[in-house]
């Protein structure tokens, strides 16, 4: 089975994340880049499927030069090879442009299964997996907490507000995962060393047959009008429990008419 895992490099949540004042895009230099957390679960699931069914795991990541750090991490976990979609023309693409560019790269690479995290910790649109399925015309098996492949059929448990849905489809398919699905492995020393020798192919827009007028900041379907750092919340009252902390909290709730 030919599995492609889409991995995004995101700014570390633990550092201060910013937008750039000039073009209002994510300031990728302001924070350390890390692997989007849910994408690590996607890599893990891809590796487990490969271990069970055989095949190959390819990492696909779109982003600037420093995205190679993220690609190496996924390779160190055990993926076989990688494709880095990297071109200045892609800079500032919104979700529509990104899904288009990735879908073109996926067509070029070929796949039985595409796996990715259900959302990124920076943009958090939660739309990209469904957009990829739409663009590729493949079944959308998103928000999966369990994945089973049997020959050319695939079953997932898709989490919902009321529990989960059991969903079935045929391969090829797009799967997005939630963190309940597994526990991602840490790269071993051996894995880190091996990752350095694994092939990473770089694709530009021309290589992936990406129409330049469908990607990039200038061609986005939406724009940031303005942004501002959120004003701090007004300081509240903090009391030390002297045996009456619960009663005091109740008084506060009553004063706000919650009780």
């Amino acid at each position: 089975m030919n599995i492609v895992v889409c991995v995004k490099q995101v700014p570390d949540t633990a550092t201060e994340r910013k937008l750039r004042s000039d073009d209002k895009t994510l300031d990728r230099d302001a924070a350390d880049g890390v692997v989007n957390e849910l994408d690590e679960y996607a890599v893990e699931e891809a590796l487990r499927l490969k271990e069970a069914h055989g095949g190959e795991v390819t990492v696909l990541s779109m982003g600037p030069a420093k995205t190679t750090e993220t690609i190496r991490k996924a390779l160190a976990m055990g993926a076989d090879k990688a494709v880095h979609l990297h071109d200045d023309a892609l800079y500032g693409s919104d979700a529509l442009g990104t899904s288009y560019a990735l879908s073109q790269a996926l067509k070029k690479i070929g796949y039985d299964l595409v796996i990715l995290g259900s959302e990124s910790t920076d943009a958090r649109t939660g739309m990209l997996p469904a957009m990829l399925a739409e663009r590729l015309g493949t079944p959308q098996l998103t928000l999966a907490s369990k994945v089973e492949v049997d020959g050319s059929s695939i079953k997932v448990e898709r989490i919902t507000d009321y529990g989960y849905d059991k969903v079935e489809a045929s391969l090829p398919a797009v799967v997005s995962v939630v963190e309940k699905i597994n526990e991602p492995r840490y790269p071993s020393f051996k894995g880190i060393m091996a990752a350095k020798k694994k092939p990473v192919e770089t694709l530009g827009v021309a290589d992936a047959e990406i129409a330049a007028d469908q990607v990039g900041l200038a061609n986005s379907w939406s724009e940031v009008v303005e942004f501002a750092v959120a004003p701090p919340r007004a300081a509240g009252t903090v009391v030390k429990d002297e045996g009456d902390g619960g009663a005091k909290a109740a008084e506060f709730l009553a004063s706000k008419k919650f009780v």
């Binding site: 739309m127 098996l141 507000d161 009321y162 059991k166 045929s170 902390g245």
Partner: protein, 317 residues
């Protein structure tokens, strides 16, 4: 005024509160038109949608719409966008709502904005990003603005309207029938409101210490008619089910009141609750970062404070 389509979020025919919020929001910017997709449409649903401002209700009631993941609903909306040229399309910023919005954007070559906390003139959307650290105003620049709106962002206001029904027949494509839902598994949640819809959420974290101890969180929630949430630490430990996780990799909630007990408040958690209107924090560690955004905080043992709070609330009822 031009029409704004609102996709009705419903479970087995029950219209969810977020839909009424979206109708109210649409009513402030144009003429709301509800779009019902799937089975379960009823007079009660119609009455509710009309009560909250739906001038029109487009009804695509084919059972098979609900038999497949997300794609059929996107096809129903794409059909209406092509036929009716609405001024905008609003959907709930739920897992499914965002997926449908994404697919619709591609089908209609339109821009899409995810997880807005408000929408103003010109369909300029407000978003709260980076865990609530930055406020953004953005707008769609191509096609029909498609906007998903976070539940609890607008207070629903009754505004009776005609609710004129119009049947919609859409022939689903094969692609929309690709991912088939073979079974819906409903997990017990009792009488509590749904997490993202609830006006009040009571969450427990690492400090709760065990799954059994979550009973005291549940008791407080029940006294307030609230939903129960949990931090990542609590769900990772298996103390509370995963779908109740509030945070960056879980649910984003924006209730009137959020009570956090035994949660220190790492940015990952704050990202899921920072837009709550009133925040109450109970933690034995006075240095817990969540106190920084608390409207009211109690530094103390949650096993003392929470039961006392529950008791006081019961007394005041």
């Amino acid at each position: 005024m031009s029409e704004i389509l609102v996709l009705v979020d419903h479970v087995d025919g029950d219209v969810k509160k977020v839909t009424l919020e979206l109708l109210t929001l649409a009513g402030s910017l144009g003429t709301p038109a509800a779009v019902w997709a799937g089975s379960g449409y009823s007079d009660a649903a119609k009455a509710k949608l009309a009560e909250y401002g739906a001038e029109k209700i487009y009804v695509a009631a084919a059972d098979e719409i609900g038999d497949y993941v997300s794609a059929p609903k996107a096809e129903v909306l794409a059909h209406l966008v092509a036929e009716r040229s609405p001024a905008a399309v609003f959907l709930a910023a739920t897992g499914e709502g965002k997926e449908i919005a994404g697919r619709l954007a591609i089908k209609t070559d339109s821009g899409v904005i995810s997880d807005a906390v408000g929408v103003g003139e010109g369909f300029v959307a407000e978003q709260s990003i980076f865990g609530g650290g930055v406020n953004v105003r953005s707008r769609v620049t191509k096609g029909t603005p498609i906007i998903t709106v976070r539940p609890n962002s607008t207070a629903p206001v009754a505004a009776p309207a005609a609710g004129a029904e119009e049947k919609v027949e859409v022939a689903l494509s094969d692609a929309a029938r690709a991912a088939r839902i073979v079974e819906r598994v409903v997990q017990e949640k009792g009488a509590r409101p749904e997490l993202t819809e609830a006006a009040i959420v009571v969450s427990g974290g690492r400090g709760v210490g065990s799954g059994e101890n979550f009973a005291i969180i549940e008791k407080l929630a029940d006294a307030l008619g609230a939903a129960v949430g949990a931090s990542r630490a609590a769900t990772d430990a298996g103390w509370y089910p995963h779908q109740f996780q509030v945070g960056q990799t879980g649910k984003t909630v924006s209730p009137q009141l959020y009570i956090a007990a035994g949660i220190s408040g790492a940015i990952q958690h704050r990202a899921g609750m920072q837009t709550s209107k009133t925040i109450v924090v109970i933690n034995k560690d006075a240095e817990a970062p969540l106190f920084e955004i608390a409207d009211f905080g109690v530094v103390g043992d949650l096993f003392q404070v929470v039961p006392q709070l529950t008791e006081e609330i019961e007394k005041r009822k």
